[in-house]
């Protein structure tokens, strides 16, 4: 399969995104011209340049059309490229023997499908949702750019390319968080930026050492460290890997550097936070997988202090995430904490370094991605319709928007892990993998913590459901009455993506074996 096709989806997304961005820029310049009325000659020329016809209102239709069209095209191309067999391309040589090298392999395919599956519905949803946020063109521009960067990240062939796009992803997602422009949004966005930059630089430190000891850092399943290198420089390499874990873990919300997640989410527009917690966080997980399973090799870390600390960190994050979520009144912040804890499920699965654990982690990546996006979309609808963010205020929402609350309930069930849903499957595999890895006390502590956090997840997700459907005395009734009239019903464009996501989650839950056996193929290749 000719190599350049790999980059086609990326290019499509990027061209559309860039065009939108430039358009929004021109829009800005034109916007402040009439306000000043001054006859400055330089501004005259500027006004002359931008086409006059584009006033604000009719332009929106064109924007949405362009954005969603590009999104769809890119998605189709990406899926086609992913599933039409392996291929690789070297774009150019960044430095002497470090190419920008793309390669389609198992893990890459898995993640691209997940990204596309989530990206398209959220795109549709945000077309409708963004109307009341403003600055659509800038939002969609960065949204498409981000999609292109994520696809490149998943297809990255060597550690340097991955790091390049990892850093670009931070920079492109930064304006998304910043979108609303309010003071605390900027502060939160800066916090997000600096945390992830700090994580990235720790990762870079590790890359320096790895590059020193192994020649070309191409991802090879099972690791490329030679024995003698491990022999002499074992100590420093372990330290480097630990730093990389903590660094990339920052993006995955692992304990030491997780503080940006709960800060960034409530502030970002809900499609942005949906994407942020669903997909971008997964890129941190992907980076960890690449480093541990494709560069250093799992058996290098097995039984070392690195594994134990990694395990301990992920367990503490699981526990802490659910606890904090439990006490959090704001719905979006609560979902953010739940993301933190769920991600540590995945990291915990990876830390087990056992085939089933790895499969469990992969499954959980898929389930959590879809479910968390769905949950954030519901939160978005609640905000959009009756601009309530607190959980108690949403009492009696069930009567008004039954469909939305139903989706919410189903998604929460999958997340908690009740048997028929997908959540259970992945949790089962995770527990299995932890036991199998026979790490002494750690392998038992794992499943116990999993159970406790499942309970806690139920604890913080279900109250909304109960209050929504059965509001109790009439007193609250009329109060919730005016909630809905204030805003119009959620339009079709917002409901459909939510339904798609919920359906996807259910299907994966009921017939998981297609996914499971594919996940097994990948994990056998690695371990």
């Amino acid at each position: 399969m000719s190599s350049l096709w790999i980059l086609s989806p990326v290019l499509a997304a990027w061209i559309a995104g860039a065009f939108l961005l430039i358009w929004s820029f021109a829009e800005h310049l034109k916007q402040n011209v009439p306000k000043e009325q001054s006859a400055g000659s330089a501004k005259q020329i500027l006004a002359g340049e931008t086409p006059d016809g584009l006033s604000c209102e009719p332009g929106l239709g064109a924007v949405h059309g362009l954005a969603i069209g590009a999104l769809a095209a890119a998605a189709i191309l990406a899926l086609w490229v992913a599933w039409s067999g392996d291929g690789s391309v070297t774009l150019f040589y960044l430095m002497k023997d470090i190419p920008i090298y793309f390669q389609v392999d198992g893990i890459g395919r898995w993640f691209v499908t997940l990204v596309t599956a989530v990206w398209v519905p959220v795109g549709i949803y945000s077309a409708r949702y963004m109307r009341h946020e403003g600055e659509e063109k800038r939002f969609f521009g960065f949204y498409l750019l981000l999609y292109g960067v994520l696809v490149c990240l998943d297809f990255a062939g060597n550690l340097i390319t991955m790091y390049l796009f990892y850093e670009l992803m931070t920079l492109t997602s930064f304006p998304l968080v910043l979108h609303s422009g309010s003071r605390e949004a900027i502060m939160a966005a800066l916090k997000y930026l600096f945390y992830s930059l700090c994580g990235a630089y720790m990762g870079l430190f590790g890359i320096f050492f790895l590059y020193r000891f192994c020649t070309n850092l191409i991802f090879v399943p099972g690791g490329i460290l030679s024995q003698d290198v491990i022999g002499q420089h074992g100590g420093i390499l372990l330290a480097a890997v630990m730093l990389m874990l903590v660094g990339f873990g920052a993006k995955a919300g692992m304990f030491p550097l997780h503080a940006w997640l709960p800060a960034a989410h409530p502030v970002a527009p809900s499609p942005a936070s949906a994407v942020l917690s669903g997909i971008i966080v997964k890129s941190g997980v992907l980076a960890v997988i690449r480093v541990v399973y494709y560069i250093v090799g799992p058996d290098f870390l097995r039984g070392t202090w690195v594994q134990y600390t990694w395990m301990a960190l992920s367990l503490t994050t699981i526990f802490m995430g659910s606890l904090l979520a439990y006490r959090e009144p704001n719905l979006k912040k609560r979902l953010a904490y739940s993301t933190v804890s769920n991600l540590s499920y995945i990291l915990f699965g990876l830390a087990a370094l056992s085939p089933t654990g790895f499969t469990g982690a992969l499954l959980h990546v898929a389930f959590h991605g879809v479910v968390k996006c769905g949950l954030f979309l519901t939160a978005g609808i609640f905000l959009f319709c009756c601009n309530k963010t607190k959980v108690e205020e949403l009492t009696g929402i069930g009567q008004k928007m039954p469909a939305v609350l139903w989706c919410y309930t189903l998604l929460s069930l999958t997340l908690i892990g009740i048997p028929p849903t997908g959540g259970f499957v992945s949790k089962w595999y995770l527990a299995q993998g932890a036991l199998e890895a026979n790490l002494g006390p750690w392998s038992y502590a794992g499943p116990v913590i999993l159970l406790i956090s499942a309970l806690l997840t139920a604890g913080y997700l279900l109250p909304l459901v109960t209050k929504g459907f059965f509001p109790g005395e009439p007193g609250q009734d009329q109060e919730s009455e005016d909630i809905v009239t204030e805003r119009k019903k959620p339009g079709a464009a917002m409901l459909i993506p939510l339904l798609i996501l919920t359906a996807l989650a259910l299907v994966m839950g009921l017939f998981p074996n297609a996914l499971i056996e594919y996940a097994n193929i990948i994990s056998n290749m690695l371990l």
Partner: protein, 492 residues
Amino acid sequence: MHIAVMITVVLLPILGGILIPMLPFRGRREMLWYIEALVLINSILVLTVLLFQPEEAFVLFRFTGNLRVSFHLDGMGKVFAALAAALWPLAALYSFEYMKNDNNEKSFFMFYVITYGVTLGIAMADNILTMYFFFEMMSLVTLPLIMHTRTREAVLASRSYLYYMLGGAAFAFIGMIFILSYGTTSTFVPGGVLDLNKIGDKTNMMLLVYVLCFLGFGVKTAIWPFSGWLPRAGVAPTPVTALLHAVAVVNTGAFATMRITYYSFGTGLLRGTWAQSVVLLLVIFTILYGCSRALKETHIKRRLAWSTVSNLSYILFGVALMSPLGLAGALCHMLFHSFMKIGSFFCAGAVMHETGRSYVHELDGLGRKMPRVFAIFTICGMALMGVPGLAGFVSKWQLAQAAVASENPLAWVGVLALLASALLTAIYMLTISVRAFFPGKEFDYDTVPDVSDPGWMMLLPLVIFVAVIVLFGLHSQPFVEYLQGVALSMPT
């Protein structure tokens, strides 16, 4: 023929500079053309000299015995000369626009062009005496530039600048004497000149002299104890701060340190000794000190000045590693940093020139008004941070590789310092861009003065710098190979 060209390259700008106040110029425009022509011709001459490289050294005049002022072009000299030749015409172009409403421009441009000649003199110095000679001239010629605005503050800044410079030169003098008397020849020979039997037992003394010499020349690269003068010199007009503190003065210091470490003292003697660890510690401390001070600074130019302090210590970090790879990394960073820093200084200069504002908190919303300038500033900022794909990453990569390759653990601490300072750079560079582009929702735009991007004279250099940064970032391969070629010619 070529040797003659080598000399004219150095002397032409100096003589041309001196002529500026004498020549009767009718209008300002004619003077500008004269200056630009002078600088351009000189750059072309430099490039011709670089192309077919004259082998033998050219003796200008002879002090006494073996002490003579002579020029010879070798690997490192070429890199530095090329850098100066590339940047000077652009900086001159920029300063024409900047100095439009200043009244005694003549004296400004006179010293501006003379500095060009002196920098080339240092680049092509063949022996340590010539280098010291031009090194001293450099500090004297740049003094009036700093004093240009004639305000009380400028006079104080120039006075402290001079004391630092002359102090440094005095200590470097000791080093030079040591090399002249203990070295076999005074010229620069890759791999060091000192003959051991003469030194014999006095190695400790030799190391102490090396540290003194390193600090002496280091004053120009604003190492920690002597870094006071650089931010204070921010008071000078922007073309001065940009050109001097990004390129000319500070790089001469770095260049001189490279010369004495690799070409006079010789790394063989120094590697692994306590002198190297002292120097490394000092450099690492300066990296962190520079960045943290930059964070605290609210005045843009002083903030950039502090970031120059820390970036220069990157270069010295490369030099202190005492390995050919380290030298390659140092040269690489010297080059890229000059482009990045001169770009950001010029952007800051453009903002100050147009709006007269020079404090970070006054920049809110200016991004909307001067999009091109701030876009370039953000790119330079990101390059400084080390975002892969831009020039900064490449040079950081080389430095880190060299550090990792050299066994001593201090180097690894150095890499950590490198990354920590990259993070700090990110913080203080991006806050400016974020504040400019996204001032926040409730910010009303009419408080922002109605300015637009500066004229083409200012923008052209900026655009060229950004192009160079991106080009080096993406396609630095041939260039890095050349640098390594220069460095590896060094017997370790």
